[in-house]
């Protein structure tokens, strides 16, 4: 347990601190760009789904970032703790940070007299955050290229903004704005699969599981 906490401490201090700050800055910027007070359910959903959820792209794909260099990857995979453990610790750490940041934002909206079902919106947004981030993680794992990890969820977002529900069906990320939560269940399942597949692909690449 001590070892896992050490991994997470280093992750927080050296790997994702900048990403967390960027995410906080984006959320801090929101009151200047859009209303965050006295919103109805539909407008609150729009803020959460179309703006806040983007922090998933910023915080989840960098799970593999420290091992971008092949030499570091080889060094990590030669350690007793398997790469998959390191990735999972970082991933859960990043998800915990996301859950906290989102919780803080939802609390702020609720405190600002926005009328919406807090728990449902919180979980719905978290599902979208995980799906966007999971997609980034999957493509990063697949291509070993962080930029592709950022590009694919961004393209998915653009597609959702541009063509809406018509082409995305149950994978439409902005369903809460239209009062539907079914899509969020699909997004949660998709997120789990994408994250699992992303980590597996990355571990295969770095030869995780082998202990010397």
């Amino acid at each position: 347990m001590e070892r896992l906490w050490q991994i997470e401490k280093i992750n927080l201090k050296h790997n994702i601190l900048l990403h967390v700050l960027v995410s906080l800055a984006l959320l801090g910027l929101s009151p200047f760009l859009m209303g965050v007070e006295n919103l109805g359910a539909q407008d609150t959903a729009k803020v959460l789904e179309m703006y806040v959820a983007l922090i998933g792209i910023i915080l989840i794909p960098p799970v593999f970032l420290p091992e971008q260099s092949q030499e570091i990857r080889e060094l990590v995979s030669s350690r007793y703790t398997g790469s998959h453990i390191v990735y999972l610790v970082r991933l859960f750490g990043n998800i915990a940070v996301l859950a906290l940041v989102l919780g803080g934002y939802v609390f702020m909206l609720s405190h600002n007299l926005c009328e919406f079902p807090e728990i449902r919106y919180y979980l719905g947004t978290l599902a979208e955050i995980l799906f966007l981030g999971g997609m980034g993680l999957f493509f990063y794992g697949l291509s070993d290229n962080l930029i592709i990890g950022y590009m694919m969820p961004a393209v998915y977002f653009i597609l959702a903004v541009g063509s809406g529900r018509k082409h995305l069906g149950v994978w439409y990320p902005f369903s809460m704005t239209a009062g539907s939560y079914t899509e969020k269940v699909w997004l949660s399942a998709g997120a789990l699969l994408l994250i699992a597949a992303g980590i597996m692909l990355r571990c295969r690449r770095s030869g995780s599981g082998r202990k010397y």
Binding site: L33, E37, V47, Y51, L54, I147, M151, M152, V161
Partner: protein, 405 residues
């Protein structure tokens, strides 16, 4: 040497995974948005609707806008959409008083009449422009009201027009169609529609290619090796930049072909000659400046920081541009200074003509901005070759700023 470098960069790009992913994304974008486009036929009498258009009756626009303003003034809260998201604005006493004065001046009512209107129910409000109010003065007052509200209100130039939408008559619909066929020679209208859809993706996607191309040197550990070569900084950067532009514009040209062929085939049936070069003109004039900016931002910030920061910055720029376009701007004619000018219809030739100088200024501005950013990239690259600007993701890394050369 420039030609060789340029060709090498093109080959490198063609071999990269991200380039082909971008090509697939563009194909997907085209097929989902424009894949089933049917060339519009002449409207027929008795249709249920001929579409809507902005009223050109200035008195009507003024009346509807003032009615809206008094409603919000009465409520004490104003709805705005600064970047497409709802925002409720409550003004302080001084600002609220100024809105009252604007209303009095625009509607030509006294303080007493204004108070009477304020106490009425929403449905009973009946207020119109003052008899001596010119449209220019009305525009000036509404612009001021919009400024007080922080922009994106119902009183901003494009939203005031949205207040006065009306159904088109058969005659007006036929006139619109004739503009498309005669003035735009069919392909002009569809080239605008094509540009409208493609500009959304091209406002963001080029940054990914630019960042990848610039990071590749470092990942392949070739950075120092390239630094010490004879080729000057401008040659390396400009050849890379041009290769990115060319490699991105090729699939865009190819994607425009199906729509052009559709136009040519349709034109044969109604005996008109389409403008074969329309898509080329629109791609170069409308889309290229956007691709130029997005790629230049990617190159500058990657060379400067050696990180993917450009993705975040361009992402924010894209987000603000796309959502601030507003409902009226996407119909064309009101192009403003948006990085991604919209014209989401094959019609509205008149709007395009009216807004052409604005559009041309916009495109020239962004093309010039891209050249400026590129010049900065050359400078940064030159400095890095001398051992300066070694930031590598650290904010204070270059504080000693000593040349290694």
């Amino acid at each position: 040497m420039f030609g060789q470098l340029f060709w090498k960069e093109c080959v490198q790009t063609a071999k990269s995974l991200i380039y082909w992913l971008i090509v697939i994304i563009l194909i997907l974008d085209f097929s989902t948005q424009l894949g089933n486009t049917n060339i519009k036929k002449m409207p027929e009498r008795g249709q249920e609707s001929y579409g809507t258009r902005v009223s050109n009756d200035r008195a009507f626009i003024m009346k509807r806008t003032l009615e809206n303003l008094i409603l919000e003034y009465e409520r004490g809260s104003y709805t705005t959409y600064p970047i497409g998201f709802y925002k409720s604005v409550t003004l302080n006493e001084k600002e609220e008083a100024r809105i009252g004065e604007i209303l009095k001046e625009a509607a030509g009512v006294s303080e007493k009449e204004l108070k009477e209107q304020k106490s009425m129910s929403d449905a009973d409000i009946d207020i119109g422009p003052a008899a001596d109010l010119t449209y220019e003065k009305f525009e000036e007052l509404m612009d001021e009201a919009d400024d007080i509200l922080g922009g994106g209100s119902s009183y901003a130039a494009d939203y005031r027009l949205a207040n006065a939408q009306e159904e088109m008559t058969y005659e007006e619909a036929v006139e619109e169609y004739q503009f498309l066929v005669e003035k735009d020679r069919l392909s002009g209208g569809y080239a605008r529609l094509f540009s409208d859809y493609m500009v959304i993706a091209l406002g963001f996607i080029p940054v990914f290619l630019a960042v990848t191309r610039c990071m590749r040197d470092r990942r392949a550990k070739m950075q120092e090796l390239i630094y010490c070569r004879r080729a000057p900084a401008w040659m390396i950067i400009v050849s890379r930049y041009l290769s990115i532009l060319i490699m991105l514009i090729i699939p865009v040209f190819l994607l425009s072909m199906p729509l052009l062929i559709e136009c040519v085939q349709f034109a044969k049936g109604i005996d008109i000659t389409v403008d074969i070069l329309a898509f080329v003109k629109y791609i170069l004039g409308w889309l290229l400046p956007t691709i130029m900016v997005s790629s230049a931002v990617g190159m500058l910030l990657t060379e400067l920081t050696d990180t993917a920061l450009a993705v975040l910055i361009q992402g924010i720029w894209w987000f603000v541009s796309i959502f601030s376009a507003g409902i009226m701007r996407i119909q064309g004619g009101l192009y403003g200074w948006n990085l991604m000018p919209r014209h989401n219809t094959e019609f509205n030739y008149t709007g395009f003509q009216d807004g052409f100088s604005q559009l041309a200024s916009n495109r020239i501005f962004y093309a010039s901005l891209a050249v400026l950013i590129l010049a900065l990239t050359v400078f940064v690259y030159g400095q890095k070759r001398k051992g300066r600007f070694q930031i590598r993701g650290k904010i204070m890394a270059d504080r000693k700023d000593k040349s290694k050369a």
